[in-house]
Assembly symmetry: C3
């Protein structure tokens, strides 16, 4: 069975860089089954990458290799890591883009720093490790090379601190952490906390604007209504039914979101 290899980059749609990564990977293993996840990560945005990976990596089958090239430190001394997490594998820059996965999938079973340049392209450019290191190493991994050959074990790496919600008995304070293509606002307030408030009566604000309704699903609300609901990532989400919540509330990533017990 060909090995699944996913690609996540900030190279931009239809970028020649993404195309070159595919070429250099397939040059090592023409039978790798490539799956584009995204080449639209906002340039060098590690928080976005963290959210993105958490929203999709856990759904893939065991033994999938996820190659992530969002790499503001390319060419510097930052390491490149091979990570085994649950049953999956990652090839990532050591910049913390992957560490939010640990919450959902448990601690890594193995982390290596790549050191063995014999698995890289013969000439490594200073600005394009995606093509010259990530791609050929991914090609070798997808051919079931023993990962131990690639580098040295490590137990230290960069952890990315994500914004944490403030949760008390009477108030939940969080923020927008992601805006999807429909304009829906995904927050960092966990579904469980929200549901406890919702059962007892609550009020919800985005920035300074109050949300009057909560629903189970978009289709329950009158078109144009702003609603709170549980997102598919199990967090509080703010949407405008058949509308665009981000424009409606002039909200962006980091806009504050607040839930209070009513009365």
């Amino acid at each position: 069975m060909p090995r699944l290899v996913t690609l996540t980059t900030d190279f931009g749609a239809g970028s020649a860089y993404a195309a070159a990564v595919k070429g250099a990977l397939l040059a090592v293993n023409p039978e790798a089954a490539l799956v584009d996840l995204s080449h639209h990560i906002p340039p060098q945005d590690l928080h976005y990458t963290a959210f993105f990976l958490r929203a999709c990596v856990p759904y893939f089958p065991p033994a999938t290799l996820h190659v992530v090239v969002v790499d503001p430190g390319v060419g510097s001394e930052r390491a490149i890591l091979y990570v085994e997490l649950a049953e999956q594998q990652l090839l990532v820059p050591d910049n913390g883009c992957w560490t939010a996965l640990v919450e959902a999938m448990g601690p890594p079973r193995r982390v290596l720093r790549l050191t063995e340049s014999r698995f890289w392209r013969p000439q490594v450019s200073n600005t394009f490790h995606g093509r010259d290191i990530f791609a050929p190493v991914a090609g070798h991994l997808s051919r079931d090379i023993d990962p131990a050959l690639l580098g040295v074990p490590t137990d230290t790496w960069v952890n990315l601190a994500l914004p944490q919600p403030h949760i008390s008995e009477i108030v939940l304070e969080g923020e927008v952490i992601f805006i999807d293509d429909f304009g829906n606002l995904l927050t960092n307030i966990p579904a469980g906390a929200f549901q406890r408030f919702q059962e007892r009566g609550m009020r919800v604000w985005v920035g300074g604007a109050e949300i009057a309704w909560w629903v189970r699903t978009y289709a329950e609300a009158v078109p144009g209504t702003a609603v709170a609901l549980i997102s598919s990532s199990d967090t509080l989400e703010i949407a405008v039914c058949q509308g665009h919540a981000a424009r409606h509330f002039q909200a962006c990533v980091k806009t504050s979101v607040r839930v209070e017990l009513a009365g």
Copy 2:
């Protein structure tokens, strides 16, 4: 031979939602051969989806499974349908997005409403049936499960009414139904009717502007000239040679198009 499974969604380019659908599908069948058709359907636009599918589905080989997640009714009581049409298979929300295919490919040979939740993800969210129902069911179908296990036969479904042209002996009245990335205007006036007029001499208007030339192909016209021609979908098309007809005519979907017998 691995089974071809195409994906058409309105999730947006590089969306984590499209990535999660791929993961959940491959989790059921890691050997499915995924083909991205589009993740750029304008949000919840069923008319666009209808045109899109009609322009590409008929060209695929037999036994291709087309998964379409353009689903404003997600989480409501709308059904999800499995459809066999000519030699192809569809997995679609019951919102009419697929019914324009019947004109080109004949009536469906079989339509089922999905009911058997044992083929879905164990937890089904209220807002993301693409990941939790469509994807795993597509995975099972691509492993050649008997479709009859998935649900119950039905002979009623939502039909989408597309705008119809008015065709008489002396005038053809239609409208722009699609604008491609080159800015060309595709109309709902069939090639056959247009050609009968063209043989006898005609005048063509888009909105209030008259088109002076008709051609067989873009390359026949002087750059910058507005022309009428037969589109690759066998309908009347308005183009500006090496230019952008939509901007030139300030035209959009629903702009009227009129053909009159001359003299």
Copy 3:
């Protein structure tokens, strides 16, 4: 082993045209391994296509077939070519989009003009040869048909003249030929010439603005600094560290770039 077939078009992201090309290709060979390179080539931009192909085609494994549909002359008398270049294969309109590859990969070993319509779709539209000729021919080639059956050998074709830098002992004059999604400016000044100047002391201008620093890699500079460096395509590149050089310098393709020996 399934044959790799890459797709490069100017149809636009998520275009129904790209989807139809995939369908018509897979209809001939459902086992072809499709790889999307780009559907975002700016409409009909042959210079961009030339740069794009040079940045990725050389990295692919032998026996990859590259299908390129950037075709302003569709429907005219322009030929469609099958080309063998180094160990790779191309299917291209005869408009010069591929000839810049010769510099990097050597002269073509074989060039044919497609003439045998029995390998095309039965009905060939005047505006969509991508679907009606390129796709089915690519399907047949990926099934290892003898290419000689497709057409007739030719030793003449359109060559695309790319802007050449002016190189002397004391000055290098070139221009921006590509802007990537990070806003970095890629020029046509070769790395070798630049490095000779750099060793002896130099000054660098983009348009009227001087670049004060040169670096080995993005990460060496202070964020916000404009720098000159060697690109991953082995040419002079102008970047703004963690910024957007194109916006910073209001530069576009064709903006002049000048390197002078200092003192």
